[in-house]
Symmetry: C2
Subunit: 190 residues, 2 copies
């Protein structure tokens, strides 16, 4: 989830980018307890009334951060095998959500508190899984796996454990762990 | 995670039980925004000063709720096969964390906001996974799976996707989904 790459140009798009960048920076600097519309406005250089009018509150700011991320141009990897593609996806999760100072991780934690932000997080991840389904569909087309597999289940089966580690178990899975989860999902246990 | 079953008897144990039950009830009734030490004290019938002295704040109350749950007598299922045991564990996750009005789910969401509560959640789940490791160890002893498997990885691989669904994707996996995750982890893809 890289910073929003909405259509460039236009004052509105620029303001949105500045404000959402400030959300991430304020969250990183002050944590959720210190995140407020006023601080975001001050840091972004956008007028406080504009921020209030357009985003309403912290929940609205967090929600729009996810919505902006969901409108990027990200595409899933294509390395020629299901295992390699799932491993690449898993590495992306570790890269973006893994580091303790990860802004995505902070945003996911913060979203829990605001219904609108939580729904935007759901939409963001749902969109990622929909875009990633092609990874499984290509594997089916190559005859690597049967046509009965459910792409989303394969993806959530391989990546869900990493989110569970990072967000609920509080430990940091390594790349070897990520590879192990992919291996289990694709090939089962030895 | 059923309500604390700490050693019975003793006023201290009784007070703890009353207070932690009130935490769950207040959270269910008012949500995290409406959860406060005063409300918990009033509902539990325990003196406010006692609650403040012993638990400090909402984070302390939430943390102790997880710690109490971790000191119960829960043991994992033993149905004679790895798949059956993992499916039974998955059904427990669905039963306790699945329902939208689940108190465990509310507690997990709330814990995200308080470092002490978050650490207690990590301890609670870690304890559950340690107790559940025997499910995999028995399968190794029966020769069902190779001795090289890492019990915790198998458990997190099978159950992690359910927590990811419930807490991050906002959808409700069915028992069929849970069975599918277990099947993938144990037997791989068709």
């Amino acid at each position: 989830m890289e910073r929003g790459t909405s259509r460039p140009g236009g004052r509105t798009a620029r303001v949105r980018e500045q404000v959402l960048a400030a959300v991430v920076d304020e969250l990183a600097e002050h944590g959720l307890e210190g995140l407020g519309v006023d601080g975001v406005a001050a840091r972004s250089g956008v007028h406080r009334a504009t921020v209030f009018r357009r985003w309403g509150d912290v929940g609205g700011l967090l929600a729009d951060t996810f919505d902006a991320a969901a409108s990027d141009t990200w595409t899933p990897p294509d390395h020629g095998s299901l295992r390699a593609d799932l491993e690449a996806l898993a590495r992306e999760v570790l890269e973006y959500v893994g580091p303790p100072e990860s802004s995505v991780r902070a945003l996911m934690g913060a979203a829990e508190r605001f219904p609108r932000a939580r729904e935007a997080l759901h939409r963001f991840l749902d969109d990622r899984y929909r875009r990633s389904a092609v990874v499984v569909e290509r594997a089916v087309a190559r005859g690597e796996v049967g046509a009965s597999v459910v792409p989303r289940q394969v993806l959530v089966g391989a990546l869900g454990p990493l989110y569970h580690h990072l967000l609920h178990l509080g430990d940091s899975p390594t790349e070897a762990d990520a590879v192990a989860y992919v291996r289990m999902v694709v090939g089962g246990l030895p």
